[in-house]
């Protein structure tokens, strides 16, 4: 498992690996929003939690189709499937690698970008915490979508259509946690729900991903 994780991280960081793509997209969206809605600080403060979460979600979506597609094309997925590593473990590792190259940088960059959107000072901690809790769910759900659409030509659009509805709970609770944090309200409920979604997704979806991969490899 460690070998696959190291390989995937190495592939992600080397030329053409797509590392930074999501981060750049996140940056662009967040920078563009103030131009679109105008410089009124009160309005930006109000919409900042939602914009940051939607932008992070779309940025995570951007690199999903690469999770299995490249391994499928060059044949390594079939070789991995016949290796001693169970496909369930491979799905977890792939999701983890996706999170480390996408979700983690997004989480770390979000406070800086929150500043651009005039995020309420109290909300920074909740932004960081909710993204740290929520983005792993985006990666594991996305891995499931990628497993379903692997082998399809131009599967990216179908992948987005499949995955976006599954992202909605994470988005709702994530943005809600930040909003409550900004208003000084209790954030325990959305945070716990967010953590629950992530834990549940990690417990269940690797099995679904592996089953989808087995069908697609036939």
């Amino acid at each position: 498992m460690k070998a696959l994780l190291i390989r995937d991280l190495r592939l992600g960081l080397r030329a053409g690996g797509g590392f930074g793509l999501g981060l750049a997209f996140f940056l662009i969206v967040v920078v563009l929003v103030p131009f679109g809605v105008g410089p009124e600080a009160a309005v930006l403060t109000r919409i900042a939690p939602g914009i940051l979460w939607v932008a992070a979600l779309l940025a995570a979506l951007l690199s999903l189709d690469r999770i299995f597609a490249l391994d499928f094309e060059d044949g390594s997925l079939a070789l991995l499937a016949t290796s001693p590593l169970p496909l369930e473990a491979a799905a977890v590792v792939k999701a983890l690698a996706h999170w480390i190259t996408t979700g983690l940088p997004l989480t770390l960059a979000a406070p800086g970008l929150g500043f651009l959107l005039n995020l309420a000072p109290d909300a920074y901690f909740y932004l960081l915490a909710s993204l740290a809790l929520g983005t792993p769910a985006l990666s594991i759900i996305g891995t499931f979508g990628a497993a379903l659409t692997v082998g399809l030509r131009r599967g990216g659009l179908l992948l987005s259509l499949l995955v976006l509805p599954l992202y909605i709970p994470t988005l709702i609770f994530g943005a809600e946690a930040v909003r409550r944090g900004a208003d000084g309200l209790a954030t325990a409920t959305p945070m716990v729900m967010l953590a629950g979604i992530t834990a549940g997704a990690f417990a269940l979806l690797p099995f679904a991903s592996a089953a989808a991969l087995r069908v697609n490899l036939r």
Binding site: I6, R7, R10, L79, S83
Partner: protein
């Protein structure tokens, strides 16, 4: 450890392709699968390797002893030759034996990124994986594509002197003569009739 296949039927895309295939391969022996394009060599090998279930029949070999090598090498272009091999060795919980570089003439290429290799060199790297993972039952699908005559000889030597000599088994689909002392099995007589039932919806049950 023997590979036993009994009245195996396989399908591709919901269409039955091969029916009633039986054979047995003893330790240290190889079997060459022959037949025209599209007869089902790849499908048989994928079924043997466990990538798809057989329609009927039994495949018997000890668990966790087999490895599969497809047309595609599974070589990552942005990793070096050593990194590619080390990855597969680790997946199989082994270390890369030093002799494998010499056996596949990769010594001078160790630090090269696989994306800069020629088609034949890449193929050699893909085949070197078989020397790294240490599996006893190999299912090889056209292993010699894009290899020159010298490399084909090198690969045949590896199979004969390293793999088969250690009691390994190899089932090889190929169109050329590898120079192995192995029986050949022509798949043409096992072509499935169009009336044989295929289960295209099976994947969803």
């Amino acid at each position: 450890m023997t590979l036993r296949v009994q009245s195996l039927s396989v399908e591709r895309g919901g269409q039955p392709v091969i029916a009633g295939l039986s054979f047995e391969v003893a330790p240290g022996a190889a079997l060459i699968l022959r037949g025209p394009n599209g007869i089902g060599k790849t499908t048989v090998l994928r079924t043997l390797a466990g990538l798809q279930p057989p329609v009927s029949g039994t495949i018997d070999y000890p668990e966790d002893t087999a490895a599969y090598a497809s047309h595609a090498d599974g070589v990552k272009p942005t990793l070096t030759v050593t990194e590619n091999l080390t990855f597969w060795a680790q997946v199989y919980g082994r270390a890369v034996p030093g002799s494998v570089y010499a056996a596949f003439d990769l010594d001078a290429l160790r630090g090269r990124e696989a994306g800069t290799l020629s088609a034949g060199q890449k193929r050699r790297l893909g085949l070197a994986r078989l020397g790294v993972i240490g599996r006893a039952v190999l299912f090889l699908d056209e292993p010699t594509v894009s290899l020159d005559r010298f490399s084909v000889q090198m690969f045949a030597t590896f199979l004969r002197d390293t793999h088969l000599a250690a009691g390994g088994i190899a089932v090889i689909a190929t169109h050329i003569d590898l120079g192995l002392d192995a029986p050949e099995l022509d798949l043409t007589p096992f072509r499935a009739l169009a009336t044989d039932r295929g289960g295209s919806d099976e994947a969803f049950l």
